[in-house]
Symmetry: C2
Subunit: 409 residues, 2 copies
């Protein structure tokens, strides 16, 4: 018998019928002999309804009272799911974050979990009950209700799995697993049976929005096996674990891409200390997030400096850079918001030379010009013209033979 923590998001519990379906899934897992803790989000639409009420009260909503308000969303779901389980003959018990106790710091609206007291949950499990826990919320040392911020329910599930030493943490979403790339772009994209935490982090941060980054980090840190599955169809999903010996052979696990970026280049900047700071500091001061930053070795005492921002921030960033460039004595400022970033991700590339050149070769063969390159230990990202997105992703998917199950799986 193993202990499994399951998490169902807002879409999965978006109606009374869907809550009944979740109850059926939970009961099926229980019949297989597992002990179950189920973490749920607010029903889809409920958080927006509550935010609408709050915005009717005041313009700026944040702080302690917003958490009191929003935490009711999951509380409704836990009660309904526990009722549904009991109606189907499965003993169940619901807990708010405060009841569990999921102890957090006092940073309202973006609290971090400090500790979880699993005693009550363990007692109920020993009594044969399914335990239903409200995601996204906790309580601080003073007894104030807190919320964890975006994607907090995933984090709740992973943290509970860690505290309870669960055998697996299963995240149910509206996709049936993690794919080698977006199946809408590459129809023959393949669901991965397994992926490492590090690869998942790169995939997540690069635009494969299956799991919240924080939850993956947490699961990796505490070595909780994490599985992504579909709420709406059967299947084994994708298991996210640590790298194993047998996975060494795999080179590339997937291809991520991001269509929401724009590129800014400041050419002919004096090659001096402090230039990068003076440029990017102004951008950061305007609350614009910067993604890639590339600066090449300079020549003739000047250098070219390129970075990417979210497409929505392009005009604003361009204005800031223009005003700074003059003071820096730059030769030229150019920008383009018709670009995409494509990345290949895989722990295998650490120990294999030639991955980068294979990538560039595949793109060149299709006549795709690479505008920027940036690498980390387990990924290589390139920026290309927007029009090459589909062509580039498909060419790479073929070149790395991702439609074939990778060795070691």
């Amino acid at each position: 018998m193993s202990l499994i923590v399951q998490k169902y998001g807002g879409t999965s519990v978006g109606s009374v019928e869907r809550i009944q379906n979740v109850a059926d899934r939970v009961i099926a897992a229980r019949r297989q002999g597992h002990e179950l803790v189920v973490v749920v989000s607010a029903m889809s639409g409920e958080t927006d309804r509550l935010l609408g009420l709050a915005r009717g009260i005041r313009a700026n909503i944040d702080g302690r009272e917003l958490d009191v308000l929003l935490s009711t969303g999951e509380q409704v779901t836990i009660a309904l799911l526990a009722m549904a389980l009991e109606a189907k003959g499965c003993p169940a018990r619901s807990y708010t974050g405060a009841q569990v106790q999921i102890l957090t710091d006092s940073a309202h609206n973006k609290a971090r979990i400090r500790d979880i007291d699993g005693a009550r949950v363990r007692r109920d499990l020993a009594d044969g009950k399914v335990v239903v826990v409200a995601g996204f919320q906790g309580v601080d040392e003073m007894g104030n209700i807190t919320t964890l911020g975006r994607g907090g329910s995933d984090t709740t599930a992973v943290a509970l799995a860690t505290a309870l030493k669960a055998d697996e943490c299963q995240i149910f979403t509206d996709v049936d697993g993690v794919y080698t790339t977006d199946p809408r772009v590459v129809p023959k994209a393949r669901r991965l049976d397994r992926i490492t935490f590090e690869e998942m982090l790169e995939m997540a941060s690069l635009g494969s929005k299956v799991l919240q980054i924080r939850a993956v980090e947490f699961a990796g840190k505490y070595n909780v096996p994490l599985r992504v599955l579909s709420s709406f169809q059967e299947g084994e999903g994708t298991l996210i674990t640590f790298e194993e010996e047998s996975m060494e052979q795999a080179l590339i696990s997937g291809i991520a891409f991001n269509q929401n970026e724009a590129q800014l280049t400041v050419a002919g900047v004096p090659d001096q200390p402090g230039v990068a700071y003076r440029l990017l500091g102004a951008v950061a001061d305007a609350n614009i997030e910067v993604d890639m930053i590339v600066q090449n070795v300079g020549a003739d005492g000047t250098t070219d400096f390129t970075f990417t921002v979210h497409r929505n921030d392009f005009e604003k960033a361009l204005g800031i850079v223009h005003s700074r460039a003059e003071a820096l004595g730059a030769r030229q400022v150019t920008g383009d918001d018709k670009i995409v970033k494509i990345s290949i991700v895989g722990v295998g590339m650490r120990s294999h030379a030639g991955i980068a050149s294979k990538m560039f070769e595949a793109l060149a063969a299709e006549g795709i010009n690479i505008r920027m390159i940036s690498t980390s230990e387990i990924k290589i990202s390139v920026v290309v013209d927007e029009k090459y997105l589909e062509l580039g992703v498909r060419a790479l998917h073929d070149a790395f033979e991702l439609e074939q199950p990778r060795s070691g799986q």
Copy 2:
């Protein structure tokens, strides 16, 4: 500086605009130098919405999970009111029943308050904050969320006022106080400045649904001055207190009536022990509530037995009584659902003879036949034909000169 507990019901907080109005009222009271604890209900309609969700899950909804669900209603209101107060520059802090702690027994859906820990509330008051508390809910010793059942928010307010030794508990409703009788029947009905707890209990149970009986009992037991006021208009409302010397002169404080009753009479029942039980036991077994019961002294070894039930239960009760009457050897069973009960209420009648005869005289002068009479220490009720309701109430209102402020006020 006095400490005041205010309570606003669902209609008073039924929209974002109304919550803003409540915030204005609270701030106005604070400007007068008072310390304030504010108890609120769920926004009107919210409890029904939640019940609708629960009924989508299962047919029979009760128990622990229903309380987890319903308690979110008040939690939304406390957050919104605290936000509104802070937006208007008034420091405020919200608490759920569990946070306060309002400790109850574990009778879910109809829990009773055992104890209130006022420490956190007192600390916030000392810090100059307005404390906003969720009505209707508490927490049991195990940390489970409980609800107090019908009218629970009034009870929360009175219990908090007791625990905090508040100077006054103010219940804001959609009427501006307690009237000598229903102003829709007697246009010159007068708002009472004061009424005793006992009178209020009789008025409440007789159909003047201004306050929940349980809250009045509680306030009386712990001697918390209770005031009924309107959320929507200015005014002093009605203060409910213990009888004082100066109130002795008042004879009658008000006239209550109930249009929802039906009368059943079993005539010629053998005048023997156990007859009442055998008749009413069967009615009670069918979950029919009995209001008045009148049995006169028998003659010729038989007696007549009359009682009243809610009009909705009339046919069912008549069937039960018919079936029993035969076995009891009764002569005849009659019933009538075209009746009303009219009651005069007042602590003054204790020490004054002649109140009853004055009542009967006033009704006789209008040609109104009295079908039943029942009395308690501070009220006299009569049952008359339904068509005489308005005429009877107006005649009594005139006879006892209720349009004049009573002496001692």
